[in-house]
Amino acid sequence: MINILLFAHLQEAIGQSQLKVDLSDYTVGQLKEWMENQYPQLSLQNMMTAVNEEFATDDMIVKDGDTLAFIPPISGG
């Protein structure tokens, strides 16, 4: 089970801020594809991601219990 977090327009696009999915040992890139198949309204290919609150690359493997967050271009400050 991995925990997926969505923010900003991604959250609004699918009407959810958090998903729990049974997909451990996928890479970040594979999870992006899986999400886009489930939610065709999402475009995640160039989206930054974080695994367990640290920025991650597409080839990183997401393990059971991890939290994956999609990080849209930020605009704080």
Partner: protein, 157 residues
């Protein structure tokens, strides 16, 4: 009263509280940066804003920025508080306080902090205009994101 140097809050920020965190007997200078909600941007009138954060990661990124500053300027002390939720024009979105023995470093470290916040801290701003809303993306390159801009005809400029 919180003792943490890095905070995400959903209430108005008390600038004095952030300043007091960096007070030091060895400081000759304190610089404070305050990001406020501006009404007009390129001729378009903002009605209000909404900020959203990924709080756990935002705090980690604030700590990373502080670590980077410590490496560059070991005597600098940094505190950062960012607000989330609904903000009106002139409301304070972020406060960065830096103290240092000498002023040059207090200015440089402070500006470094806000530049890095805009690069790596997961916080998002949604603009509310008279004719629409938009989650603003990547202000660094001034590229709106995603494409959901109010029509040009609606501009007040």
């Amino acid at each position: 009263m919180s003792t943490s140097f890095f905070e995400i809050v959903d209430k108005p920020i008390d600038v004095e509280e952030v300043r007091k965190k960096v007070v030091s007997r060895n400081a000759g200078a304190i610089t404070i940066f305050i990001g406020t909600v501006r009404e007009m941007t390129k001729g378009k009138r903002t009605l209000h804003l909404e900020y959203q954060a990924y709080p756990e990661m935002a705090i980690k990124m604030f700590e990373q920025i502080s670590k980077e500053i410590q490496e560059k300027w070991p005597e600098a002390i940094v505190a950062i508080t960012h607000r989330v939720g609904h903000l009106e024009i002139t409301d304070i979105a972020v406060v960065i306080a830096v103290s240092s023995p000498h002023r040059k470093i207090a200015y440089m470290a402070n500006e470094y902090a806000i530049d890095r916040i805009k690069q790596i801290v997961p916080i998002w701003k949604k603009e509310y205009w008279e004719d629409g809303t938009e989650w603003i993306g990547d202000q660094l390159e001034n590229v709106p994101y995603p494409k959901n801009l109010p029509s040009e005809e609606g501009d007040r400029s």
